[in-house]
């Protein structure tokens, strides 16, 4: 992760979802996890586009599973969080924490 570069909000949420799912899952499971936990009904296309971006940055890697009949004979693409992804999460969490420390009361009173 470059100096000063932060994860986008969807990138952050998707990486967190992958971590929650034991670090490895396919797109629809990630989408479902986010929907269940946040109530955000995001599209599968948004999930895949973000996962592609995260893969290009080296934060996640992907592998192809076996095709199954319930998927119309199509294989799963399993995404895994890499060490760089975990580091990016840590930096983002630290940045958010340092920005929110001592300032929570200010927006809560608005």
């Amino acid at each position: 992760m470059k100096q000063g570069e932060l994860l986008g909000s969807l990138e952050h949420i998707i990486l967190l979802a992958l971590v929650r799912l034991d670090g490895c899952a396919h797109g629809m499971i990630v989408r479902r996890e986010i929907e269940e936990r946040t109530g955000r009904n995001i599209s599968i296309g948004a999930v895949y586009a973000t996962l592609e971006r995260l893969e290009a940055k080296g934060y996640v890697s992907s592998s192809t599973g076996d095709p199954t009949p319930e998927r119309g004979g199509r294989a799963k693409r399993l995404f895994r969080v890499e060490a760089a992804g975990k580091r990016a999460l840590q930096i983002s969490e630290q940045t958010l924490h340092s920005m929110t420390a001592d300032s929570k009361g200010r927006w809560e009173t608005i």
Binding site: R31, G45, A46, A49, E70, R74
Partner: protein, 191 residues
Amino acid sequence: MSRYSPPDFACRLFQTVLPVPFRGALLGDLIEEYNLRAEATSPSAATRWFWGQACRSIPFIMGSSLRNGDWLISVSTAVGVYAVMGTLKLAADFMIAKLFAPEPTAFVVLAPIVFLAFTSIGGCAAARIRFGTAVFLALFVMITVAVQIIAKTCTIPVPWWYEFGFLTLGPLTVLLTPVAFGALKPNSNES
């Protein structure tokens, strides 16, 4: 094997639009979730969900392709297809004007048929190369028709809806004919 099947046209549309790296896995995910939803709720509710996901996903996927630089290849190939299509269309118009339709009325009737035939063939050829090419080809067709309308190149008096038909149906034919006929890039089922 599930006894439910997702809407065929939505699947074809999605399969046509998706770039190869996304195609198999993303469509498989949607079909898997569709089957679960059809079991849990009803097939019609699952179909609505499927269409909603397909329509909402396309802008993200197209945006991702553009960011990856795929657009440059798509534009280049679209220019090639457009040049071939345009040349053949001009030749066809010339033939009609010379041989079959010395009367302006006959030309007005035949012109849209020839136009739609060429946009259909061009759309299928473009989508066969890659869907992004068909998107840019549709854009080129729209711009060409718009320029012709503004420049008033048609010397025969025609109603406004006639020209509007060219402007809307041309790009739509380029995009929808390959979807309807499944004219996809080969190996489209690869994940």
